[in-house]
């Protein structure tokens, strides 16, 4: 009797930094390829929105005051940072769920943190050109010279991180595409209309200002404004703290939502 030696398939758990970085690169390519038709359109819309706010809000005034102009100019980039991660992100997840590609993507042998970081990178790629352009348009329109300090990097990265994580948490933790769409609609309203991003919080009614103090959006505007026009911001550290807490909290919710068995 002859014995046949079967080679056992390798069951190997891959880990380690090299595997993680490899996964990150693969997922970045994957996501960019998935968005290749949408991304140019998206960057175009981003520029339209950023420049649109900078130029359009001025028309509400007979003669816009320098303070109001500074608020608008430093708020428009925040809108740019939130559009991809916070507003588009949940929609993409909803679309994946509707198309049933959601489970497929999550079955890919890539660390979830690498996937998340790749998505964060994509949101930055989709936002930063518009952020720079919005600031340039503001300089030209209002003759403002921003005194950019290095902390702008931290502020921009943190704002984009929290926005993206909030969108990620909504997309992954909410049960079905319809609910996601609804939450997204409400969020758009809150961010664009009711948050003190393009104007100071004092112009909101008291109760609304009190609510928005607990939300991250107004604080995002504060931390982005701080390095651009330091004289307008009194208390940046507390804002950094609140934005960071939201970011970490949402990352934790996402981790829980992705980690549970289904």
């Amino acid at each position: 009797m002859a014995t046949v030696a079967l080679t056992r398939p390798r069951t190997e758990v891959r880990r380690g930094p090299a595997h993680w970085v490899g996964g990150y690169q693969t997922m970045l390519h994957w996501q960019l390829a998935g968005l290749r038709t949408l991304l140019p359109l998206l960057i175009g819309i981003q520029i339209l929105v950023g420049a649109g706010f900078v130029l359009g809000i001025a028309l509400l005034f007979d003669d816009i005051s320098p303070t109001a102009a500074l608020y608008v100019s430093s708020g428009a980039p925040v809108m740019n940072l939130l559009i991809v991660g916070l507003l588009l992100g949940p929609q993409l997840v909803a679309q994946q769920e509707a198309e049933h590609s959601y489970d497929f993507v999550h079955a890919l042998p890539v660390p979830r943190t690498a996937t998340a970081l790749a998505w964060y990178t994509v949101t930055l790629l989709g936002s930063l050109p518009a952020v720079v352009l919005s600031l340039l348009v503001a300089q030209l329109r209002y003759g403002i010279t921003f005194t950019v300090s290095p902390s702008v990097v931290a502020a921009v990265l943190l704002t984009a991180f929290t926005g993206t994580m909030l969108g990620y948490a909504l997309g992954h933790a909410l049960p079905n595409p319809m609910v996601i769409q609804l939450a997204e609609g409400v969020l758009r309203f809150v961010v664009f209309g009711l948050s003190p991003i393009l104007f100071p919080a004092e112009q909101l009614p008291g109760w609304l200002a009190a609510i928005s103090w607990w939300l991250p959006f107004g604080h995002m505007a504060v931390i982005v404004r701080d390095p651009l026009a330091p004289e307008m911001v009194a208390d940046a550290p507390i804002s950094y703290l609140i934005v960071a807490i939201w970011g970490v909290g949402c990352a934790a919710i996402t981790a829980w939502a992705l980690g549970r068995r289904r």
């Binding site: 359109l41 339209l48 028309l59 005034f61 005051s65 109001a68 309203f189 209309g193 009711l194 393009l198």
Partner: protein
């Protein structure tokens, strides 16, 4: 008057009589039936639509006011009298095209077109129905914002034709656009981008003197500023002049919407 032409050459028991019905009487009966058909479908979403309109109309008006360090009486009057226009634009340019999109995706659109009624009667039914359905949300938005700012409005009879024409214009233009652009994705993108640009750059809640000259010149031939003008004239005294031109421009855009609709429904599919 109802002309009935029988096309049947050789009567055979297995064939249904195929007749072409035409004439004004047939058209009006069709319109009546389409209105009932559309209305019974609208029962599901019409209340939701009014609520969404109040959110958009009154919500936008209130949001604009946040941008001002303080809202003076004159500013408040402009915001309040601009509110009905703010409530009409999203209905015509966002909700109606979105509904056409959805009907296209669901196949309802093709089904409706296959019904034995003239397509012009179907379009007329859509225009009539949406014009009427846009009114409650619009009035409610105006009441909410007027109460909020405590503005005294001086309503004149002019408000009736102004509002009806504006609503009809918004509906006709939105429907024409949704029909003329065959790809639903493109309709979505075009209408959202349009709504954003319109709501930021149109002198609806502020006087046109804030605009640079060339932009105002463009707005004089676009419908949005002219909507605000005729509605404002019906709600206040002394804020606007040159109404005839605004009515003419709105009329022209209404006809343009009908022309787009007519062009699409006249083609064979």
């Amino acid at each position: 008057m109802n002309t009935t032409a029988t096309l049947q050459a050789a009567p055979s028991p297995s064939q249904l009589p195929s007749t072409i019905r035409s004439g004004a009487g047939h058209w009006l009966r069709s319109l009546n039936r389409m209105l009932r058909f559309d209305l019974s479908r609208a029962r599901q979403w019409a209340p939701m639509m009014a609520v969404a309109q109040v959110f958009m109309g009154a919500g936008m008006a209130i949001m604009y006011s946040f941008v001002y360090p303080e809202v003076s009486e004159a500013t408040a009057l402009y915001i309040v009298t601009g509110t009905p226009t703010l409530a009409l634009i999203p209905l015509g340019l966002l909700m109606l095209p979105e509904s056409v999109n959805q009907q296209r995706l669901e196949g309802t659109f093709d089904f409706t077109w296959s019904l034995p009624v003239p397509r012009t009667a179907q379009a007329a039914s859509t225009f009539l129905l949406y014009t009427l359905l846009s009114l409650p949300g619009m009035v409610l938005s105006l009441v909410v914002v007027a109460l909020l700012y405590g503005v005294q409005l001086s309503v004149s009879p002019l408000i009736v034709p102004a509002v009806l024409l504006c609503a009809l214009m918004a509906v006709s233009l939105g429907f024409g656009m949704a029909l003329a652009i065959p790809n639903p994705m493109v309709v979505s993108v075009v209408t959202s981008a349009l709504a954003f640009v319109v709501l930021l750059f149109s002198p609806i809640v502020y006087p046109p003197s804030h605009l640079p000259g060339w932009l105002f010149a463009i707005h004089q031939v676009l419908p949005f500023y002219n909507m605000a003008v005729v509605i404002r004239a019906g709600l206040s005294v002394g804020l606007v002049s040159d109404l005839a031109q605004s009515f003419l421009v709105l009329g022209a855009w209404t006809v343009a919407g009908w022309a787009m609709t007519g062009w699409v429904i006249a083609r064979r599919q």
